[in-house]
């Protein structure tokens, strides 16, 4: 309870500050004319007005020397997806597997898992990667979807700029500036799986160029299908979330932004729970000491506040300073975790030297965690503060103007577990003409140890014993010996726009991994030995992703993509598991994925979209549960009617081809569940 009062105290405080900012008299700031004012001015006066333009034109996406895909607001809206994890299915090469109603396994270029750890995720510059288990709690990563400007999906390492854990990809969720979300928005809907959702946003703007918005949203979601019982799996959930964003400027050189969110989710789950054999009260669970399908609820809450200040020193020099605080709490039967993060980040862009664009930055992050340990899961110690210091430097060199570009850079990062990590990259882009780009890159990235791997004690299994003997509890232990996972990635790509209405994007890669996380027995001879988190897996993967965007007609757009990946991995020869049985690197990733979306505007008022995607089979996605996932095809349709510019009615149907299907299997605490067909109707009103 103490923490939530901070929500009100702290954010309330900053919001008071914001209110004061907004009350600043307009005269003290540079006056900004409205377009109406411009229209009334003589032409000659307009031409003599000073214009603040972006200091340097942003590099067009199709010239980037990386495998980038952008999910736009239009994509999100037209696809009918209702959450950020589901939206990621729109990107090529991203594996999205729903484990249960509120859990997802999401990964880029392989290695998906309930605790997939090689994908870095940021929302408006704030990292939402959880350092305790190295992964993302997707259920609580949300905002008003209508306010998302775009989701940048970068496949392959992005560690040189973004830092550790951007191993196989980076996901950047970027919301619209407050000036782009003016006025009111009301979004309401209901369906069988999306039982009820509601979102409201209101945005205002002042004469001095300050704009602000606030939103609140609520979701009530049904449970999924339980494989074991054929009934609902008791994982329905509800979440409530609100937030704000304000953007403004001081004079012509300084821009600022402040935003924050607060959320609360109550998520049910059915779990399998190990019971302590030493406690006589647990005798009823003998001999396995496993309570199955125990109803539990996850109580999640959190808030964050971020401020960013940009200053333009000259036409060739610009800097930004960003500070955020983030609090999160997650309580489940087997563990309660709390995190408080403070992050400060400075970045400077300088292109005063002809042909060079230099970016460098410094960062510091402090994460204070606190765990309420249980018999099943213990973090050791149960409370700790972790410090992360980082610096990066990148130079983009124009070798041949508008034709050949070389980017060199490195990140230096110091963490409390493994010390200094160096993550350099070299990228080359060749633009033979305005319609095509060839690129190549070599980069190194690391996945730093999580708190779990560095110090923990988790029940792996309880070995039954005949009466009068104490059953043996086998633990997985995290130790200080655990090292960073390492990747050396080789990538290349080709983008071409052969016609005005057709573009193609191909990326190929070869990844070389070392020190991947494994488990090793402490006593090789003992079949019931405790196991340690270790680094004894080496792997390599190769693959390709192909995306196509084609508008055969002005009112018809087709977007499709295909991805292929082959992973092979092996344990070191001295491993205590010589048969590779504790490695799911090869078995949790679909070899082939395919997606086609058709978007049609039927007249001015009706939009009709179809989306089919195929995900190949998984031999064994879960480390602890031996269950394969068959390949599946999902068909989704959406029909939207907007009788006026400000009103839209929509009907969305998802997973039309089957009543329910399995997409992924979580670790042993969760019973396998299947995704059901979903149909919902919605209304959106802009006012």
């Amino acid at each position: 309870m103490r923490t939530t009062s901070i929500v009100c105290g702290d954010s309330g405080h900053s919001i008071l500050g914001l209110a004061l900012l907004l009350l600043l008299p307009a005269s003290s700031l540079q006056a900004h004319e409205s377009i109406e004012d411009y229209i009334d001015m003589p032409l000659a006066d307009l031409l003599s007005m000073e214009v603040t333009s972006v200091s340097k034109k942003k590099q067009p996406l199709n010239e980037t020397a990386a495998a980038v895909f952008v999910i736009t607001q239009e994509d999100i809206r037209r696809s009918g997806v209702t959450s950020i994890p589901e939206a990621l299915r729109l990107a090529p090469g991203i594996q999205v597997g729903r484990i249960d109603a509120n859990k997802w396994a999401i990964s880029s270029r392989g290695f998906a898992n309930q605790f997939a750890n090689k994908l870095l995720v940021m929302i408006d510059g704030r990292t939402v990667y959880n350092p305790s288990f190295s992964g993302v709690y997707w259920d609580v990563q949300d905002t008003l979807l209508e306010d998302i400007e775009r989701i940048e999906v970068i496949r392959g390492p992005g560690a040189t700029v973004w830092g550790a854990n951007a191993v196989n990809g980076v996901i950047n969720i970027i919301t619209r500036e407050a000036s782009q979300t003016q006025g009111g928005l009301l979004s309401l809907g209901a369906g069988n799986e999306e039982k009820a959702f509601a979102g409201v946003r209101y945005g205002v703007e002042t004469h001095n160029g300050t704009a602000a918005r606030m939103y609140i949203k609520y979701n009530d979601r049904d449970d999924s299908y339980a494989r074991n019982t054929g009934k609902g799996s008791g994982d329905n959930w509800r979440s409530l979330r609100g937030g704000f964003r304000a953007d403004g400027q001081f004079g012509e050189t300084d821009r600022w932004t402040i935003h924050g969110d607060a959320y609360q989710a109550e998520e049910n789950q059915n779990i399998n729970l190990w019971k302590d054999p030493a406690d006589p009260a647990n005798a009823v669970y003998a001999p396995f000491f496993l309570a199955t399908d125990v109803p539990d609820s996850i109580e999640s809450s959190g808030w964050n506040l971020l401020g960013k200040w940009n200053r333009r020193f000259s036409a060739s020099s610009e800097a930004s300073l960003q500070l955020y605080i983030d609090h999160s709490k997650r309580a489940e039967e087997f563990l309660t975790q709390k995190h408080d993060t403070v992050d400060i980040d400075f970045q400077h862009q300088y292109h005063g030297v002809s042909g060079h664009e230099i970016v460098w930055g410094l960062g510091y992050r402090r994460i204070q965690d606190h765990f309420s340990n249980t018999f099943v899961a213990s973090f050791l110690p149960d409370s700790r503060a972790l410090n992360l210091y980082s610096a990066f430097l990148q130079d983009e060199i124009e070798l041949v103007p508008d034709t050949l570009r070389l980017t060199l850079g490195t990140k230096l990062e110091h963490n409390d577990f493994t010390g200094l990590e160096v993550q350099p990259s070299i990228r080359l882009a060749w633009l033979p003409n305005e319609r095509s780009t060839f690129w190549g890159a070599i980069s190194r990235a690391v996945r730093t140890p999580s708190r779990l791997e560095n110090g923990s004690r988790i029940v792996a299994v309880i070995a039954p014993a005949p009466p009068a003997f104490t059953p043996k509890v086998v633990y997985s232990l995290g130790t200080k010996e655990f090292q960073s996972e390492e990747l050396l990635a080789y990538e290349a790509g080709y983008r071409v726009q052969p016609k005005e209405n057709l573009s193609l994007d191909l990326a190929v890669f070869y990844n070389d991994y070392e020190n991947l996380q494994s488990f090793e027995k402490i006593d090789v001879q003992d079949p019931l030995s405790d196991v340690l988190f270790d680094n004894t897996i080496v792997a390599h993967s190769y693959g390709l992703e192909l995306a196509m965007d084609w508008r055969p007609l002005e009112w018809w757009r087709l977007q499709s993509n295909y991805s292929f990946i082959e992973i092979s991995s092996s344990l070191n020869s001295d491993s205590s598991f010589p048969n590779n049985e504790n490695d799911t690197s090869e078995t949790a990733t679909p070899k082939h994925q395919f997606s086609v979306r058709s978007m049609m505007d039927l007249g001015n008022q009706v939009a009709f979209d179809l989306w089919v995607y195929y995900v190949g089979d998984l031999e064994r996605p879960s480390y602890s549960v031996q269950m394969p996932v068959p390949a599946y095809v999902s068909l989704n349709a959406s029909l939207a009617w907007h009788p006026t510019k400000t009103l839209e009615f929509s009907l969305v149907a998802q997973n039309l081809l089957d009543d329910h299907h399995l997409e992924f299997v979580g670790e042993n605490l969760i019973s396998p569940t299947e995704v059901e067909r979903s149909i919902y109707g919605g209304i959106r009103w802009d006012f």
Binding site: C8, L46, M214, E266
Partner: protein, 197 residues
């Protein structure tokens, strides 16, 4: 822990506390005046309207007089909402309507003014050729637009927006550009053209 945390009055109060504070701020902000943001494209949107006052379109031969002034955007729309304001204005007594197109083959021949986004640069010459000699005022901020046969090109100098006019292209399409506008512009000659001052 309670099973219905979301509905607990204390929780609702806390979320409400944040939102109310923000809303108070928002209301204060609203009281200070109507909306605006400064940007290059807001100015360009206004310029599109201003330019139209200096252009004379040829009478629509064999066609009924148009009901609207069609301002068309081809390619990526960088104007956002600032363009919508123009729909409250008129050109030559005709209310402006905004039309957006993703590719050039779909563009309606009835557009009086066509702004071509820089996103179409790789295909600019082909696009311009397809509109050649049609009474459509072509405008863009893409590099070399006027040189390649576009009529009006916005250029961004050190701090100010200026424009280049290709008088030959305009004349070939039957558009007349008033002298005061030409005086403010850099006149570009492509093909043989000696009529401009």
């Amino acid at each position: 822990m309670s099973k219905h945390l979301l509905l607990q009055p204390a929780r609702v109060k806390r979320v409400g506390c944040i939102l109310l504070a923000l809303f108070a701020a928002a209301l204060h902000a609203n009281a200070t005046g109507p909306t605006s943001t400064s940007s290059e494209y807001k100015l360009k949107a206004a310029l599109l309207y201003k330019l139209s006052r200096f252009i004379e379109w040829p009478p629509a031969m064999g066609k009924t007089r148009p009901e609207n002034f069609k301002l068309c955007i081809l390619g990526r729309d960088d104007f956002g909402r600032s363009l919508d304001v123009l729909e409250e204005h008129k050109v030559n007594g005709l209310p402006i309507t905004i039309h957006r197109y993703t590719h050039s083959t779909g563009v309606d021949g009835d557009c009086q003014m066509l702004f071509i986004s820089d996103s179409k640069r790789p295909f600019m010459t082909t696009i311009l050729r397809s509109f050649e000699n049609q009474p459509i005022l072509t405008v863009s901020d893409a590099r070399d637009f006027a040189k390649n046969g576009g009529m009006i090109q916005f250029v961004l100098g050190q701090k100010h927006i200026g424009f280049k006019i290709n008088t030959y292209a305009a004349q070939a399409a039957g558009l007349k550009i008033a002298a005061p506008l030409l005086e403010l512009a850099i006149v570009v000659h492509t093909k043989k053209n000696k009529d401009t001052p």
